[in-house]
């Protein structure tokens, strides 16, 4: 029973991070209509930027480092859009997919060139987790839950009450409108990239704080995020949030039944099953930020 509860908690923590990845991915998919393979590298970049600022010689505090990482990743995302995706606005979604695959390959290996292939860890002090009845939670994990929840709340306020947020919703609500790409939509697309990149950065930092960093960490998290996007229905922000949490839970609870070697295959299985049986997502709403 304690195993189940512990897995549930771990799943919830992982899921709240995946949710941040998934929201960004679903916003991009909802407005630009392609699966951005390089989203995983935004996540990875967020983690490594924060690592860069946290380690000597800069030695900044985790929160300031995280803030710097967000700025860095947003710049990176806007650069990607400017140089590659924006010239391909009206291209076939498969062309964009291949282009983003190329970008992903490029940055994944760039990280390896700079930081090497080995696992790295944020310089947090090692602490025993706090026992809450049958489950154990580390202080870092508690922070992760708080920050993830905070990020989601900020996102809610942004989408609900700001002009830019409303513009994103209207574009995402009306994919045909988005296909015309006027000046106005270009502005909205920029906002979408900023939101998606910030969430990827926050998620990446949290993920690295919960676990560790390595240059290829983006790929598996992209897969998880994509599974979450499909679960929630493409373009559906709140669906993606819930989808992320479901993926986190199913990964951590799934290994209680499945052989442990298949943990990373769970997200893939979810993708295949969803595509086959409910391509419109579990929540059933195909488009729109609702």
């Amino acid at each position: 029973m304690s195993l189940f509860l512990q897995s549930l908690l771990d799943g919830l923590i992982a899921g709240s991070i995946y949710a941040l990845f998934a929201v960004g991915l679903t916003l991009i998919y909802g407005t630009l209509h392609f699966i951005n393979f390089a989203h995983g590298e935004l996540i990875m970049a967020g983690a490594y930027f924060a690592y860069l600022f946290m380690m000597p010689p800069l030695h900044l505090s985790p929160f300031i480092s995280g803030g710097c990482a967000i700025v860095g990743v947003v710049c990176l995302a806007l650069l990607m859009d400017r140089s590659v995706f924006s010239p391909l606005r009206n291209a076939n979604s498969l062309l964009l997919l291949i282009a983003s695959l190329g970008i992903s390959l490029f940055f994944q290996n760039l990280a390896q060139v700079i930081w090497g292939a080995e696992i790295r860890t944020f310089p947090f002090p090692l602490e025993r987790g706090i026992s809450l009845g049958p489950v154990v939670i580390t202080p870092v994990q508690a922070w992760i839950l708080i920050i993830a929840a905070g990020a989601i709340f900020l996102l809610y306020l942004f989408l609900k009450f700001t002009r830019a947020g409303k513009a994103i919703r209207s574009v995402s609500d009306n994919p045909r409108l988005a296909k015309t790409f006027g000046v106005e939509t270009e502005r909205v697309i920029r906002f979408v990239w900023i939101v998606a990149a910030s969430l990827a950065a926050v998620g990446g930092v949290l993920y690295a704080a919960d676990t560790n960093l390595e240059p290829h960490m983006g790929t598996i998290n992209l897969v998880r995020a994509f599974a979450a996007v499909l679960l929630g229905g493409v373009g559906n922000v709140w669906g993606a949030l819930i989808g992320g949490i479901v993926i986190g839970l199913s990964e951590n609870l799934g290994v209680l039944i499945l052989p442990i070697g298949y943990k990373d295959a769970i997200a893939f299985c979810v993708i295949i099953l969803l595509l086959l049986f409910r391509p419109e997502g579990i929540l059933g709403v195909r488009w729109g930020v609702r």
């Binding site: 195993l3 897995s7 771990d10 992982a14 860890t121 290994v255």
Partner: protein, 370 residues
Amino acid sequence: MKKIIVFVAIVVSAVLFLAQAGMSSGTIKIGAVQPLSGNLAVYGQGFKMAIDLAVDEINANGGIKGKKLEVIYEDGKGTAKDSVAAVRKLIDVDKVPVILGPAASTNFLAVAPICERAHVVLIGAESASPAITKAGDYIFRVFPSDKLQGKGVADLVIKLGYKKVPVLYINNDWGKGLKDEFVKNFTKKGGKILSEIPYDQGKTDYRAQLLKIKQLHPKAAVALVYVKDGAVIFKQAYELGIQTQWITGSAAKSGKLIKLAGKAVEGLIGTYPNFSTTSPQYKHFVALWKKKYGDKKIGIFAEYNYDMVHLVAKAIAKGGTTPDGIRKALYEVSKGYKGVTGDKTFDANGDVGSAYGVWMVKDGKIVTRK
């Protein structure tokens, strides 16, 4: 289209040119395939340093019968495919009689049949897989087979008085090979395996595996891990509040583990192929290393690589530069040869024996346990 043809032509002519250039000089050339890039590159650099150390020593002492020894390095990138290509190049382009084989048993096993068929001696200093024992007549290694280490870990667990343990192991050729040997020996001695839990190398999160262990509440648990993933595992175990005696093998025995995992590995116990650190050979090796590399830490398996090169040099001196001569001579020169890592006498399969010691982490330091 034209550009492609031009490019291919340039590549081919460059290849031919460089191959010609390499033929001329009057040195004895041997090949080495090491993971100079890719996932294992961190280790590959260290192996190369140790090999260079031995080569420099040999050449400073007059080389082999007056000729200098030269090692041609090829990058195996830590993958079977690239190791095979590298070995092909060494055999066919450079026509070396001996190849210092690639690290990681997967890669070593992939290239072994090629060397065997080409009648080129392949010798390894890191690969521990039991399968290598039967890889062929031209295949040697100066590192003990995991058959011995698996038994060593099992003996240790029994000696410490644990009868029931779960075993966590890295799901690659090395981890699984060692795990199988451990399980075989441990159950033979009356122990019981609670659970066999594999994990994939290079992942960032191993909590799901650790929870399985936690749930068993074992008094002791065996973890067959490398350094980097071992550090992650022991840290996450510590955070999860798993209180158990961790027992491991030799691959995690490194100061880096303690640097990475700190108090999480305090009390960790492991076995390692034992060789005396008080022998004159070892002292000589350390002095040599200090002279060449200063304060740089002696890398993992460096001693084995060093011994390997010396054995090969002796065999070339005795048997000449043909692969068959070297192969025969290797058996002869190794008989009773006392290297840095102890007795290197090859048995009929080209394997060496080894003693096993016990190490543990105490007050943040690796100490030998009596």
